[in-house]
């Protein structure tokens, strides 16, 4: 298949089908509606499951049941809907089940707005459900990268027996861009899930139980330590990022998703003007790509975090920086998508301040 011009949400839905998604459970919410709409047309023809649930809460619990029965299950939503799903996400992580969650982020808090935003950073990376758990969290920058990650995410979820979340914002969901589904890595065929509670208790090894309850504190602690081992493995193996013109940079942006697209143009313009800027682009936001910061040369003067939110990722940048470089922040929020010029102006003001001090 050659490149096809597709709308972001539809490309994501198609990527999920190609990734071997057996079942989708979702609830309508803007700006992700084209995902369930596309799947409602195409899952049935492939003999797969599509259910429009009565609520976000029910949708994630249907995912919980389907994943427990061994299916590759998907849900999609947008920020306030993801907030409602946190209960189920915590249970799925606690029960060590694989699933894929797509979050097409919009502004908040509360009902917020429906324009693109990255204000779910904390919700996506720090959880929101109860307990010690993490999601493997991706924040792709363009549609080709998004479909690649969605296809791969079903394998990653199965491998870690953990939910994978893909956080894009409404800009990626609603824009059109050429994508090549075959250029994406081929998803592995799902392996037999010997642990699944799928109604085959005469299997060798006996009946299977899916649960997240451990009333004995020592037993629950052991369970948590077992989960932590997976998260440590993710931290070691899954930190993904792109280093853009950082080798000789004085100022290094840190930006992901749509904000990275915008910052990329700012890097180009500033470079043309002789100002040495570069960028760390996190592709995973959990685990946060701390390794990228170790690759920076000591000659870097300032890290400038750029977000379509008000400094949520900046806290992780601060921790990863660990006192090495000066830090600065620029962000817009509430559904406002900044222009590259705003970033350029901010950099120039930074340089003026430095010059005058």
């Amino acid at each position: 298949m050659a490149k096809v011009l597709m709308k972001g949400n539809e490309a994501m839905a198609l990527a999920a089908i190609e990734g071997g998604c057996d079942a989708f459970f979702g609830y309508p919410i803007t700006p992700q509606n084209e995902i369930p709409e596309y799947l409602s047309r195409h899952m049935g023809e492939k003999g797969r499951v599509f259910v429009q649930a009565e609520s976000e809460v029910a949708a994630i619990n249907m995912v919980y049941g389907a994943a427990g029965a061994g299916a590759r299950a998907l849900t999609s939503s947008s920020s306030p809907g993801i907030a409602l799903k946190q209960e189920g996400i915590s249970y799925i992580a606690g029960s060590e089940l694989p699933c894929v969650i797509i979050n097409v982020m919009r502004g908040g808090p509360g009902l917020g707005g429906i324009q693109p935003s990255q204000a779910d950073y904390n919700q996506v990376t720090k959880g929101g459900g109860n307990g010690d758990y993490h999601l493997l969290a991706f924040a792709p920058e363009n549609l080709q990268e998004t479909v690649n990650i969605i296809k791969e995410s079903f394998d990653l979820a199965d491998y870690y027996r953990n939910p994978v979340i893909i956080a894009v914002d409404g800009l990626l969901g609603q824009m059109m861009e050429p994508v090549d589904l075959e250029a994406a890595p081929k998803t592995e065929d799902a392996k037999e899930k010997k642990w699944a509670a799928d109604g085959n208790s005469d299997r060798e090894g006996g009946r299977n139980v899916i649960t997240s309850i451990h009333l004995d504190p020592l037993e629950l602690e052991q369970h948590n330590l077992k989960l932590k081992k997976k998260y440590d493995e993710m931290r070691a193996k899954e930190q993904r990022y792109e280093m853009i013109e950082t080798d000789d940079a004085d100022i290094v942006f840190v930006a992901y998703g749509s904000m990275a697209r915008i910052a990329r143009s700012a890097v180009k313009t500033l470079r043309e003007e002789g100002i040495k800027v570069g960028m760390i682009r996190p592709v995973t936001i959990w685990p946060f790509p701390e390794k990228a910061f170790d690759e920076l040369s000591k000659s870097v003067k300032t890290l400038l975090t750029l977000e379509m939110s008000l400094g949520q990722m900046h806290e992780d940048v601060r921790a990863a920086n660990n006192g090495r470089f000066q830090l600065d922040f620029y962000g817009r929020t509430g559904g406002v998508v900044p222009e590259p010029e705003e970033i350029i102006d901010h950099v120039k003001r930074m340089l003026e301040k430095e010059g005058s001090s």
Binding site: A58, Y64, A66, G68, V209
Partner: protein, 253 residues
């Protein structure tokens, strides 16, 4: 010496000892469900969905695959299982706090979609596990730890009749309320469970059996008194009957 087995524990239950309180009817209901699964040859293909409440550990007892669900969400979890494994036998086991309060949306819409699942609904008019708080099913005047002066309808409404409510939903194929307060009713209840699983396996739609149950500890009674109380107070408000039977051509009112 000639010996003849006249009774043995059902293979539908594990050997794990029940944690339920003396006089609670969970034990009877577990046994009936388990016997039906064995007798109908469904045990190996069953997935039990446990809820939150006293029956949170029911997955320890039902000798089949099982999935523990968040509070009230068992019908949604069961939907996910049944949709991807349509030939399995999927049932939820839920109390009245779980099903009639926090899980009303999930039970209504599982019925609404006509999900081919069976719901075992155990109604004892109180939250048992958490220590005897008022439920939507608590009777008027009934004292609980959160209605210490008796349930007052002006403040808390009147007890919710779930089977009657679900009977108005087109997707509900079989709905019956039964009791297990004496052997005659226990035998009848087993027949009702059989019927519900038949409806499920014939893919005729949503089935639910509501059980009038007891909670001697939180009702502040001994087991015998609680059986009497259920008979005298609950059954008049929650009548025992078939509310919907699509297999007999019951249509929607």
């Amino acid at each position: 010496m000639n010996t003849k087995t006249v009774y043995e524990p059902t293979k539908g239950l594990t050997e794990r000892e029940f944690h339920y309180c003396p006089g609670c009817t969970h034990g009877i209901i577990h046994k009936l469900v388990a016997e039906v699964l064995v007798e109908k040859g469904l045990l190996e293909k069953s997935v039990a969905v446990a809820s939150v409440g006293c029956s949170v550990f029911s997955y320890e007892y039902f000798n089949c695959d099982a999935h523990q669900a968040p509070h009230g969400r068992a019908p949604a979890v069961a939907t996910g299982i049944k949709r991807v494994r349509p030939d399995s036998a999927v049932f939820t086991y839920q109390g009245d706090g779980d099903l009639a309060s926090i899980g009303t949306a999930e039970i209504v819409h599982a019925a609404h979609r006509g999900e081919n699942i069976t719901v075992i609904f155990v109604n004892n008019a109180i939250y048992g596990m958490t220590g005897g708080q008022m439920a939507p099913t608590t009777l008027i005047g009934q004292k609980t730890t959160t209605s210490p002066f008796g349930r007052d309808k002006t403040l808390t409404g009147e007890p919710l009749r779930i089977s009657e409510m679900l009977a108005t939903i087109p997707g509900a194929a079989y709905l019956e309320r039964v009791s297990v307060h004496d052997p005659k009713h226990i035998r009848k209840a087993k027949k009702s469970i059989e019927k519900a699983f038949d409806v499920q396996m014939k893919k005729q739609g949503f089935s639910m059996i509501e059980f009038i149950s007891t909670c001697p500890v939180n009702w502040g009674m001994n087991p015998m008194e609680s059986i009497e109380w259920a008979k005298e107070n609950m059954i008049p408000y929650y009548p025992l009957k078939v509310f919907k039977d699509k297999t007999k051509g019951d249509n929607d009112e």
